[in-house]
Amino acid sequence: MLWIKNGIVIDPKNKVDGEKMDVFIKDGKIVDESEVNKEECKVIDANNKLVVAGGVEMHAHIAGSKINVGRTMRPEEMRIVRHTANKLRVSLGRVLLTSPAIGYEYAKIGYTTAVEAASPPIGSPHTHEELDAIPIVDKAMLPVFGNWHFVFKYVAEKDREKLKAFIAWAIERTKGYGVKVVNPGGVEAWMYGGNVKNLEDEVPNWGVTPKEIITELVKSNEELDLPHSVHLHCNNLGNPGNYQTTIETMKLVSGLANKKRQTLHVTHVQFNAYAGSSWRDVASGAEEIAKVVNSMDNVTIDMGQAIFGHATAMTGDAPFQFTLHKLTGSRWVNKDSEIEGGAGIVPIVYLPKNPVHALQWAIGLELGLLVDSDKVVLTTDYPNGGPFTEYPYVMAMLMSRKMREKELERVSPYVQKATSLPAIEVEKTLYDVIQMTRSLPARVMGMENKGHLGIGADADVAIYSINPDDVDPAAQYELINSEFRKPVYTIKGGEIVVKDGAVVAESWGRTFWVDARKKVSLESIDEDLNSFFSSYYTIQRKNYGIQEEWLRNPVRVEVN
């Protein structure tokens, strides 16, 4: 039992904004004062300190074939030693961290939950093995659907019942959490050397369009009432002028409502917010996108903030990765996974003086500043935009115009004319950034016990040496940037895992997966599954996917 005493709590979900109060923990949950015996409690003195829920990472690439291939192709990443083995495991990596390093580094910035945002379904056993090797944080993973032949088939046949059955089957087989879509139709087109450009472009051989794929997947997802909405990486990613595709895509869900959450989450929007017609006249489309997102009540986004320094682009958007490789001349790996999709990996370094990189950096911040704090989640699309370990920097930047002005001095002057960042006066509050890193991502993911400190919530807590009554984040941005990097405590499931910025104990989180099988008729797709497996897969159907008992610490979330 823990008694966190006299902390200053910010808990946006429960509308608590800087109240001095006590938090009680028992059996891994936040409980009411009456449920604990104070004499038996370990007391944590949080006087004048900020007490918030553990951070929730809702979009990062932390496990599965992509990051692992990335580690193999980037031996230089493994020369940075973060932790030598002692009572903890050895942890390595500059941007592409090893599995232990991922868990430790999240905990070291006060994060306690992390979602792998794109797993090739056939690679799910491996993805889970890697997730199981990540200590401390709770986890989940999203299998990719947008280029799967089954999806094309059912969309082409306009058979939503079968599509729903297929989604439920696939999520159960992969022990996944929701529906991820990457460049719908585009990765299939890439198998023939092409891509899709617009929502109306046809996918070769299937006669379906990205628009139909997205709409049908969203409707199926909503009819199944999965905890998370469709999680979409838009078409046309990384191309000048793509902000219009992004806006058109968001508008596809107008009129759809869900009381608990959004009906579409558009991810790492920075990479999809470019105006202009080429890399010579590229500019920011963030203002237009922000207007659309703010005007809709069923769309959320995350930033995909670019961080100056080393990163590694890795996405299921295979054609984009080829474009990036051609653009940068950097190393490139591409993968094709059966009839399910593809992926690519390209190392990248974001340089402040490079006009395009500076633009990407500015667009991420524009989105973070211009979109309402209950609609935009802080992410870097790790490791695409940069390391998640830089979240404190992004938090400080969002809160301080002065800091942005200072940073603007060292970046390419191109951003002055191509973005609105220099003119943006918005300074988000501590409440806003806690919302963008805790309560909002938890709500976006449909994780009810995450991201807040209400009774019944998971006892994931971060305590920082920041006094909300005393600090002016706009002026004291250096303090914000440094203190969010070293929580006084990170508590995961009621256990103290980080003290004064250092990992002190290794715990093992859970893996959440969603079971929607009760809502569908699996028999309806049985024949199709058999026929696709015998015709197109390299493995047999009975060997496909992963059993729950193979997971270290699974939590089945049943949808009724």
Binding site: M73, R74, P75, E76, E77, R79
Partner: protein, 234 residues
Amino acid sequence: MLILKPKFEFDVSVEAELTPELAEKSLEEIKNFRVWYGKFEKTLGELFDVQKEGDGKKLLLDGDFSKVKWVGSGMDDGEIVIKGNIGANCGAYMKGGRITIEGNADDWLGAEMKGGEIIVNGNAKNLIGCAYYGNPSGMQGGKILIEGDAGNYIGEKMAGGTIEIKGNAGDFIGTEMKGGEIIIHGDCGYAGGDMKSGTIKIGGEFDLLPTFRKSEDGWTGDILVGGEGKILKI
């Protein structure tokens, strides 16, 4: 000058980033300098006899150092003289000063070096002046001279400086080379694969890739990567 002699024959490798600055420290400090012997952290004094003569920025390594790695790593000034053979990664990341090896050198000699001079009186193994795996550039400046023969992958991703080999060399010379000069007086195998720029001069026989075009004074390529590197016969 600091004189080091191995106290016994090493069973496993010793990782010792010894630079000439060490000679300027007190004997006490020198003896307590931390090195790795296999997986064990040791002091220099436990593995070597340490003798000091004056304060000059010079190391004299006397004896068999063929299992001692990273000697002269990152050094920017002063001198190291090795009486016998030296282990891998000698002079890696070197910025200045001079290393003289009277015996043979192991792999990764002068890897990613930026300046200074390395002279080997004997032979050297593979990957001289290379980039460490995954890094974009190998040697960027300075000079490496080998009196004897050298192995494979000499000057991979080299971007500047000079490597001169008086004897023969192995395969894959100047692969992905971006600048600088490699001179081989004897024979070697394939040269210049994916070469973008720089010069390779060869005195003896060598294998030319089909991706080089004949130019006035030699060959230019590698055209596979739009390269403008030169391979010249001397």
